[in-house]
Amino acid sequence: MPQKTLLKVSNIDVFHGSFQALWDVSLIVKSGEIVALIGANASGKSTLLNAISGLVHPAKGSIEFEGKNISALDPFQIVTIGISQIPEGRRIFPNMTVLDNLIIGSYNRKARSKREQNLKMVYELFPILKERKNQLAKTLSGGEQQMLALGRGLMSDPKLLLLDEMSLGLAPIVLNDLYKALREIREKGITILFVEQNVRRSLEEADRAYIMEVGRVVLSGDVAELREEEEVKKAYFGV
């Protein structure tokens, strides 16, 4: 069954002041996929996510979601149409309870009516959040905070989930749980685009991947193909 294109980024340039962070970047995410965006520090991965989320706007090119151009929208509008970003560093609200963090996730109009339903789903995915629901978010461990960030993102009832460096500072065991959760999230029909520095793990979890260097996409394709690519093997696996 052919998958429809959910997100289409076409040839965008993004500047931070006079510094060009993204050069002619294109990317496609199809409905139901898990896509990885891989690259080292300062390769432009976060900038790309921020452009999709509307926190920065492309100087050239376009970003389309479900066929509609979203490049000029404000960040809060982009959440409403179904794109939710889990930012780098989690950025949960430290002085609010776990439950309040989740509730604020459902702030946008569309998500409010489905709040209880989504809350139940989040508790099923991450039972620890239910346990700690009245604790202040800053008292949670790193892994729990990441779960909270994920849960909070899910509360906005997204069609597309953007994850920025989920694995930063987390132990492998915790990561396994998180990736398992991602797979379950995909089962529920939510598409995922995640940014990672850890190449090997990314290629294990994703369907397709894009590799970025210094603001450009240098490689892309199905992960099976990419694993075989000579350049990838040399650059990232040292073979």
Binding site: S53, L55, D74, P75, F76, V79, T80, S84, Q85, P87, R91, I92, F93, P94, N95, M96, D100, I103, I104, G105, Y107, N108, A111, R112, R152, S156
Partner: protein
């Protein structure tokens, strides 16, 4: 025992007066906590609220507290407009620019009141303003008790609002991490406007009770800004309870200062207290 009996009135009055100062400071605290800027026009806006109630009383014969039915929506709208059209834009320039814009607004309101109501000292004096009552040896004007009750009511409202409503949580979130709040689908520009508007309704309420408690002139605002600032600093950012305690600290400072040093020294005591607090512990006692 004589001394204690003599002191008991100023102590009780100081605590009750703390209610007035809490009322005045709550609006300032809300704006400071959310937008990280001290609205230097706050005192003048509170006094503007006093003048609105005065106008309602003298022109329409309405009781000041009842006049809040009109005063609150009016100040809410003014606050919303100021934040949305002036301050949001000023923030985009710089934090200092926002400070100066607030200062400009302060001058505007001061002189607006002066033009319309002249520099004459005014007061809100409905019949009950002159009543007082006694509890044992303590003899208190009724308005002080009203100040205290009003403060409790407003604090309760604010706490429940921040806890239970989406907008309240959004305000809380935006004050902790603006960027993350964006990613939750929160329109922070509009949330800020609402926060400021709510702060202005508190100013309207504070204005009414200020007018019932003290006489006021168009330039009274600065004095109350300074006290409100002191209250906010003592209480620390983000703490309603802290603001309440700060209010009582200043209420007591004034009444005890007046008791020991005479009525004229009251403001001086408060100012010096603010200065001392700034010098010693600007981050407050309760703040995060």
């Amino acid at each position: 025992m004589e001394v204690l009996a003599g002191l008991s009135t100023p102590i009780v009055m100081g605590i009750l007066l703390g209610g007035l100062y809490t009322l005045i400071a709550l609006g300032l605290s809300l704006v400071f906590g959310v937008m990280k800027v001290i609205n230097v026009a706050h005192g003048d806006l509170v006094v503007f609220g006093s003048y609105l109630a005065f106008a309602a009383m003298t022109m329409l014969g309405i009781d000041p507290v009842l006049s809040l039915v009109m005063g609150i929506p009016l100040l809410f709208a003014i606050g919303f407009g100021v934040q949305r059209f002036l301050l949001n834009r000023a923030f985009a320039v710089s934090l200092d620019a926002a400070l100066l814009v607030c200062f400009g607004i302060s001058i505007i309101f001061q002189n607006f009141c002066q033009i319309i109501w002249t520099p004459f000292s005014r007061g809100l004096r409905p019949p009950y303003a002159l009543e007082s009552f006694s509890v044992g040896v303590v003899h208190i004007p009724l308005v002080y008790l009203l100040d205290f009750v009003a403060a409790l009511v407003v604090m309760l409202f604010l706490r429940e609002f921040l806890r239970r409503t989406y907008l309240g949580k959004a305000i809380n979130a935006a004050s902790q991490d603006r960027g993350a709040a964006h990613l939750m689908g929160i329109n922070t520009g509009r949330v800020y406007a609402f926060a400021f508007a709510i702060a202005m309704t508190f100013a309207a309420i504070a204005g009414v009770f200020l007018g019932l408690t003290y006489p006021f002139t168009p330039t009274s605002g600065v004095a109350f800004l300074i006290i409100a600032f002191g209250v906010v600093i003592v209480g620390g950012l983000g703490s309603i309870l802290g603001t309440f305690i700060g209010g009582m600290v200043f209420g007591l400072a004034q009444t005890l200062g007046g008791y020991f040093l005479g009525a004229v020294a009251q403001m001086l005591v408060a100012y010096i207290l603010v200065f001392v607090i700034l010098a010693v512990r600007p981050q407050g006692i309760f703040g995060r």
